[in-house]
Subunit: 184 residues, 2 copies
DNA sequence: GCCGATTAGTTACAGTTGCAACCATCATAG
DNA sequence: CTATGATGGTTGCAACTGTAACTAATCGGC
């Protein structure tokens, strides 16, 4: 999995910000229209893809590292000895993704694994010296990217962003869609 | 492409919000540490995936519709007669994704296509009556989901969110990563 | 101690996605 | 008119990702 193709996001289009053309066939009294460019899930998706795509390309080119691998390394750097399951928790990845990322990191000798004595199903994962070296190289890059995106935003605005993301995630997670859908 | 598997996001883990354990082997003087749960691209990615996953599942179950298909329908509802390339622009999808979504929508008779007379490479796409019917059914659902996530947020906060998303997307797009990476 | 139920982790398979190569059509130059 | 190049759109192929099935090990009675 080492020579991973970069797969950047082409991200071809600035959303036209507004296209308030009334739909001809639907008529003026259509119940509600939805402009994609103002639809929250869409906007978040485009934003996240733009950022992740940029980062993924950079990681792949510079460090031969995929995003899942990076996530695993990031949590192991702060909490060495985690099991794969714990890593999955911490990274919001599923266990298969973690398994594959770990396999790849093992091959690259960036992570090492030892089975736990008392429970031999479980294993303890930690960065190797090489892994730490890569980590120390990636972190400044990641932080620089984040800072570049946020540069110039006043602290109060950053706080607001932080709160908003927290709040939205909490709500999105709590949401049961069961009784939405006014139609049908 | 009709019986599309829902592919919901398991989204298994609340990020532990903080895990400020100092990395034992890295020592106290490591230049910077990065906590994944506070890293903007990561948080955006998790949030967007959570929302999109929920919506994708719901669309698939209720309307037999994928997100790419929905995006195509959404822009065609507001701007009938667009070409596939224009649709790609409007939806921030690449042309292959549009091509496939359109193919699927044609099969389902939710979109129809006619070649342009003056330029027979190009085609004009528009929703059929069936397509409009589906659209009118989906829109309230989509808006209800968005509203459910935003429910209770004061208008000022919503405006702030709107501005922040706009601003972040602008910055992310403008960012050339070329001269980032302080290391290497 | 032994059998069913659980949990950790991996493997297999299928569906999805993206890039690149590809046709078809149009535009421009000679 | 033909050649060259650009553009719209589709297809082939390879990589990625998720679900489900599977193996290995532990746990919980009995």
């Amino acid at each position: 999995m080492s020579p991973r193709p970069p797969r950047p996001r082409p991200d071809p289009a600035p959303p036209p910000t507004r296209a308030p053309q009334p739909g001809p066939p639907a008529g003026p009294d259509l119940p509600q229209a939805l402009e994609l460019g103002r639809f929250l899930p869409y906007r978040l998706s485009v934003l996240a893809n733009t950022m992740s795509g940029a980062i993924a390309t950079a990681y792949a080119e510079r460090f031969d590292l995929s995003i899942p691998e990076w996530r695993v390394m990031a949590v192991l750097a702060l909490e060495p000895g985690l099991s794969a399951a714990k890593v999955a928790e911490r990274t919001a990845m599923d266990k298969v993704a973690v398994s594959r990322a770990v396999a790849s990191l093992l091959r690259a000798k960036r992570v090492e694994r030892s089975v736990e004595a008392c429970d031999r199903r479980r294993s303890q994962l930690q960065l190797t010296a090489r892994g730490h070296a890569v980590y120390r190289e990636v972190v400044p890059f990641a932080l620089a990217y984040e800072e570049a995106v946020l540069r110039g935003l006043p602290p109060r605005t950053r706080e607001k962003l932080d709160e908003l993301l927290e709040e939205l995630l909490r709500r999105a997670r709590a949401l049961r869609l069961d009784r939405l859908a006014p139609s049908r």
